[in-house]
C-alpha cells in the first residue's frame, strides 16, 4: 500500500491546488528561459536567413547590428567583381515608428537589393515577393498589416504584397521588406523645406570647393535633386552582404576584401556572436538571475507546503512510529509526495506554457534541452524542499500519539 498516494487521494483538492500553484511558478521559470531563447532566435533570424558568408561594413566598425555603419551603395559592384564572390548585396536596415490606423506601428525597414533580390527567401505565408522596384513591401505578420493594406511612409504610399512570419529584429519589432531604394527613401525622407535648404547649402559648399569652381555646371546640378549628383551626395547603405561562389576559398576572399582600406570584413559567425554577446548579454544575465530567484522562491514555497503537509500528519507519523514503521516508510511518504508535486507542477508548467507562451508579444522559445533542464531542477527542488518536512518527521516521538 502506498501511503503517499492514499494521503493525496484523501486531500485531493488541496494537493491539486498546490500542484497548480507550483506549476504556475515553474511555468514562469520555463517562460524566462523561453524569452531568452526567443531573444537569441529573433536576433539571429535575419542573419541566418540572409545566409551571407561575409558582411562588409564601414572600416573600423563592427557592422549594422552593433553600431552605425555607412558604406556607399556602389561598393556592391566593386565587391561583386572580386573572384570567388557569387553575389554582393546592399544591406539597409533601420527602425521607424509611425502610426497606422491610429495605433503605433513600429517596424524595422529592411532593404532588398532589387532586382537581384525580390524577397523570395523571407518565407512567405501569404501573398507574393516584390514585383516592382517601388511602392510594395512584405510585412511580418506581427505588424498586423493585412495583405493589400496601404501604408503611407514618407512621401509615398506603400502596399503590403506579402506576409511573412517570425521575421523580427533583435529588438522584437516586425520586419518590413522594401527595395533598397524605397528603404532609403523612407529613411532619408525630408520635408520640402529641408530639401530646399540643403540644396542651397550644397550650392554654397560647392562654391567653396575646387570642383565647384572648375565645374560650374556640376554646381548647378548640385542645386537640383540629389540623384543628379552621385559624386557629391552618395547614397548610403549599412553593409554589403557577400555570398561566396561554390568552391571558393573563403580565406582568400576575406583577405582580398580586408585588404581594402575603406571597409572591414566580418564572417557570419562573427555577426552572430556579436548579436548574442553584445546585444543581449545583459538581458541574458538579467533573465538568468530572475530564473535563479524564481527557482529559490519555488523551493521555499514548496518546502513550506511540504512542511505543513507533514505537520498535518505528525500525529499519524507518530502512530506509524509507535507501530514500528521504519524511517524509510516515513521518508518515502514525504519524498514521494514532494516528487509527485514537483512532477505534476512540471507537467502543468509544460502544458499551460504551451498554451500561454504563443500568445506573448515576443517569441518564447522552449527548447527540449531547457525542458530537460527544468525537469532536473524540479527533481532537485522536490528532494531539497522535502528535507525540512523529513527532518521534522524524523524528530517526532511515538508518544506524541498520546497528546
Amino acid at each position: 500500500m502506498n501511503l503517499a498516494a492514499q494521503d493525496i487521494r484523501h486531500n485531493l483538492g488541496r494537493f491539486a491546488l498546490t500542484a497548480v500553484g507550483i506549476g504556475l511558478l515553474l511555468m514562469i521559470v520555463l517562460g524566462m528561459s523561453g524569452i531568452y531563447r526567443g531573444m537569441i532566435d529573433d536576433a539571429l533570424v535575419v542573419v541566418d536567413r540572409i545566409g551571407a558568408d561575409f558582411w562588409v561594413v564601414q572600416r573600423g566598425t563592427r557592422g549594422p547590428f552593433a553600431e552605425i555603419s555607412r558604406l556607399p551603395a556602389n561598393l556592391e559592384h566593386r565587391i561583386a567583381a572580386v573572384p570567388g564572390v557569387a553575389r554582393a548585396r546592399n544591406f539597409v536596415s533601420h527602425s521607424v515608428q509611425r502610426e497606422a490606423q491610429g495605433r503605433p506601428l513600429r517596424m524595422t525597414v529592411h532593404g532588398l537589393a532589387w532586382p537581384g533580390d525580390k524577397g523570395e527567401w523571407v518565407n512567405l505565408v501569404a501573398g507574393r515577393p516584390l514585383a516592382q522596384a517601388h511602392y510594395e513591401f512584405i510585412a511580418d505578420a506581427s505588424l498586423g498589416l493585412p495583405l493589400g493594406e496601404r501604408v503611407p511612409l514618407g512621401k509615398d504610399v506603400f502596399t503590403v504584397v506579402g506576409i511573412t512570419r517570425g521575421m523580427v529584429s533583435s529588438g522584437g519589432d516586425g520586419l518590413a521588406f522594401f527595395t533598397v531604394a524605397d528603404a532609403q527613401a523612407i529613411q532619408f525622407d525630408e520635408s520640402g523645406e529641408a530639401v530646399r535648404l540643403e540644396r542651397a547649402a550644397r550650392l554654397e559648399r560647392g562654391g567653396d570647393q575646387d570642383v565647384g569652381r572648375t565645374s560650374p555646371f556640376l554646381l548647378q546640378r548640385g542645386s537640383g535633386p540629389a540623384s543628379g549628383i552621385p559624386a557629391l551626395a552618395r547614397p548610403m547603405v549599412s553593409a554589403i552582404t557577400v555570398k561566396l561562389a561554390e568552391g571558393a576559398d573563403p580565406g582568400r576572399v576575406a583577405a582580398t576584401l580586408a585588404g581594402w582600406p575603406d571597409v572591414s570584413v566580418h564572417a557570419r559567425a562573427d555577426q552572430e556572436e556579436l548579436l548574442v554577446r553584445g546585444m543581449i548579454d545583459k538581458a541574458r544575465r538579467q533573465i538568468g538571475l530572475f530564473r535563479v530567484l524564481l527557482v529559490i522562491i519555488s523551493t521555499i514555497i514548496m518546502a513550506l507546503i511540504l512542511y505543513t503537509l507533514t505537520l498535518d500528519k505528525i500525529h499519524d507519523i507518530a502512530m506509524l512510529k509507535l507501530m514500528g514503521a521504519r524511517n524509510g516508510m516515513i521518508i518515502g511518504l514525504i519524498l514521494q509526495q514532494a516528487l509527485l508535486l514537483g512532477m505534476l507542477g512540471f507537467g502543468i508548467a509544460w502544458l499551460l506554457g504551451g498554451w500561454v507562451f504563443p500568445r506573448f508579444p515576443r517569441r518564447v522559445l522552449i527548447t527540449p534541452a531547457d525542458l530537460w533542464g527544468l525537469g532536473l531542477v524540479v527533481v532537485f527542488i522536490s528532494v531539497f524542499s522535502s528535507l525540512l518536512g523529513i527532518w521534522k518527521a524524523m524528530r517526532v516521538e511515538p508518544n506524541k500519539v498520546l497528546s
Partner: protein, 241 residues
C-alpha cells in the same frame, strides 16, 4: 505458569520510576513500580485519574522510557532506565500491540488499510496482509465498514478497528489504555473477552487500564495504582487473589 528460563514472563518491570519535568515543576508520576505479567495472563490496571497508569503503560510499551528501572520483555532486557538495550521501534513492531482511549486511526486510510498497514510494516506481503486484515475486521464485527475512512465510522467502530490493528501481528504483549471508554458496555465487554481469548489461546500477555468495574471478571488479575505506586493486591476485587 511461573517463569523459568524456558518460559520467561511476557513482561517484567523492576522498580520503574518516572519523573516528569525538573525543579519546581517536577512530577513524580511513577515510583518504584515493579510488576510481572506471565504469558497468557490478562491483567487489569485500576486507579484514580492521575495515578500514573498511562505513564506505566507507555513505559512498558517502550514509547515513554522510565527515568529509572529495568524492563524485560519475553526474556529480553529492553530498557535500563532511559537507555535502550534493543532497537525499540523494531521491538515494538514485532512484539507489541497498542490500543488507546482514542482509536488513533490514520485518517487517510480506510478501516481495512489501517489494519493492513500494521501488517505491511511488519513485512507481510500486501495481498496476504489484506486478507488477514479483512479476517480481523470480520472478527471484530466491522467487516462491512472495511472500505470506509475513519471519519465515516462511529467511535466504537473506530475503536474496534484499532483493536484489530493491535492484534494484527500476533503481539506477545498487548497494552491497552482505557480501550473500551468509547464503547457501550456490551461491546466493551466483548473487547475485553477478545483480549482474554487472545491471551489464553496465543499465550500473549495483556495489560488493560480500565475504569469499567463491570468487566473485571474477565481478568486473571487486577492491580491498583495510586500516586504513582502500585497498591498491594486487594483481596476480593479479583477472584484469583
Amino acid at each position: 505458569m511461573p517463569g523459568h528460563p524456558d518460559n520467561p514472563p511476557a513482561i517484567e518491570a523492576v522498580e520503574l520510576t518516572k519523573v516528569y519535568g525538573q525543579g519546581n515543576t517536577e512530577v513524580r508520576a511513577m515510583q518504584d513500580v515493579s510488576l510481572r505479567v506471565e504469558r497468557g495472563e490478562v491483567l487489569a490496571l485500576l486507579g484514580p485519574s492521575g495515578a500514573g497508569k498511562s505513564t506505566l503503560l507507555t513505559a512498558l510499551g517502550l514509547i515513554n522510557p522510565p527515568t529509572r528501572g529495568r524492563i524485560v520483555i519475553g526474556g529480553v532486557p529492553v530498557l535500563d532506565g532511559e537507555q535502550a538495550l534493543v532497537d525499540l521501534r523494531g521491538f515494538r513492531r514485532r512484539h507489541l500491540g497498542f490500543v488507546f482511549q482514542k482509536a488513533n486511526l490514520i485518517p487517510f486510510l480506510t478501516a481495512l488499510q489501517n489494519v493492513q498497514i500494521a501488517l505491511e510494516i511488519n513485512d507481510h506481503p500486501p495481498r496476504q496482509a489484506r486478507h488477514r486484515a479483512l479476517e480481523l475486521l470480520g472478527y471484530l464485527g466491522v467487516a462491512e465498514r472495511s472500505g470506509n475512512l475513519p471519519e465515516a465510522l462511529s467511535g466504537g467502530q473506530q475503536q474496534r478497528v484499532a483493536v484489530a490493528r493491535a492484534l494484527a501481528n500476533h503481539p506477545d504483549l498487548i497494552l491497552a489504555d482505557e480501550p473500551t471508554a468509547a464503547l457501550d458496555s456490551h461491546r466493551g465487554r466483548q473487547v475485553m473477552e477478545l483480549f482474554a481469548r487472545v491471551a489464553h489461546e496465543r499465550g500473549a500477555g495483556v495489560i488493560v487500564v480500565t475504569h469499567d468495574h463491570r468487566a473485571l471478571d474477565v481478568f486473571d488479575r487486577t492491580l491498583e495504582m495510586e500516586d504513582g505506586k502500585l497498591l498491594p493486591p486487594a483481596p476480593g476485587v479479583s477472584p484469583h487473589y
